[in-house]
């Protein structure tokens, strides 16, 4: 049980670091997906731990929402790419002080 949680936590941390390091917007998005998957793993592990299926229901919902999110996010990235011809997250720095 602890092992599953440790794995989930490590995947989550790796995803977080990936968000900070990568500049390609799509790869950043993929790291976010990795984080969501890690939480799903934690949910399922706790469901088995506590003996009820609420964790699995939560994981299910996470998947649904992640799907919706991916749809919109990628649509946004595509439309940004169309106008700016670049998919780097560093390009959107107009809020610079």
């Amino acid at each position: 049980m602890t092992a599953y949680l440790t794995l989930s936590m490590l995947l989550f941390s790796i995803g977080a670091v990936g968000v900070l390091i990568r500049r390609n917007a799509i790869v950043v998005f993929m790291c976010v997906e990795l984080m969501l998957n890690a939480t799903n793993l934690a949910f399922v592990s706790f469901a088995r731990q506590h003996g009820n299926l609420d964790g699995q229901v939560a994981a299910f919902f996470v998947m649904v929402v992640a799907a919706a999110e991916v749809v919109i996010g990628l649509a946004i990235i595509v439309s940004i790419y169309r106008t700016r011809r670049s998919a780097s997250v560093d390009e959107a720095n107009l809020l610079k002080a």
Binding site: M9, G18, I26, V27, L34, V44
Partner: protein, 261 residues
């Protein structure tokens, strides 16, 4: 647990590969590996429904979506190794390690009782009880997520829509443009040759050859060219054939019906 100890290192390596890979496509493939391993872990934890859904929805739909968009958008761009924000990598590494450490400490406190297990759901099966929960206590959330999906579809349509502001050029206009380009720039007004013409291979990545043997780069698709995957193959065979023809000294036969131009 054996499944776990085999799959966990694979997942970790794949996750590290995801964040450190140079090309985006490699990252996408690593993520796919992670997701499949996760699906297997779900199966190992008595969540067969989620195992299937993970593969079908996540790996099958979402990752494919990622790959499509990658091909549309980011396949040429590879992140340069040099970091533009000063200290970002060091700070990310430090914070990441600290974060992992804190979570590890938290995790160590989290579980202290024995695992209960999902034995009591064996009677009717996992799907049955999941449905009970979904259409029971979680019905409202279910309906909301459904609405969310519809909204997402609409959003995607709106975002992907391209407003056509300029009328599409007609065939006449296109042809006129071709003639003008020929007049001004000497650009060949006809079709570009398809790949493989006069070449010894007619694969998609083989450029066509001009009568004198030089390869026509434009005959290969632009995306292949961009990835330097166009390949001129066996040009020396063509040179041999040309030499043979010249050596044979075949006279050109006048064909009937050929008129002087």
């Amino acid at each position: 647990m054996t499944a776990f100890w085999i799959l966990a290192p694979v997942m970790l390596v794949a996750a590290l590969g995801l964040i450190f890979a140079r090309k985006a496509v490699h990252s996408a493939l690593c993520l796919a590996v992670v997701m499949i391993c996760l699906a297997m872990l779900y199966a190992a934890q008595d969540a067969p429904f989620l195992f299937v859904v993970q593969i079908i929805v996540y790996t099958g739909a979402i990752m494919m979506l990622f790959l499509f968009v990658l091909m549309l958008v980011g396949v040429e761009t590879s992140d340069s190794v040099v970091e533009t924000i000063k200290g970002q990598r060091a700070a990310a590494a430090v914070v990441g390690v600290l974060f992992a450490g804190v979570l590890a400490t938290a995790v160590a406190q989290a579980v202290s009782t024995a695992v209960v297990g999902l034995g009591k759901f064996d009677e009717h099966g996992n799907v049955y009880h999941l449905a009970e929960l979904l259409f029971g206590p979680y019905i409202v959330a279910f309906q909301f997520t459904a609405a969310l999906m519809i909204v997402a579809v609409l959003g995607a349509m709106v975002l992907a829509h391209r407003e056509i502001l300029v009328a599409a050029p007609t065939q006449q206009e296109l042809q006129a443009k071709r003639m003008r380009d020929y007049a001004e720039f000497g650009r060949h007004p006809g079709n570009a040759p398809t790949p493989g013409v006069f070449a010894l291979h007619n694969a998609v990545d083989t450029p066509a050859l001009l009568p004198d043997g030089t390869p026509v780069a434009e005959s290969v698709a632009a995306s292949l060219r961009a990835r330097q995957q166009d390949e001129v193959r066996d040009t020396h065979e063509v040179a041999d054939v040309v030499a043979e023809i010249e050596a044979a000294d075949i006279e050109p036969t006048a064909t009937e019906g050929q008129e002087d131009a």
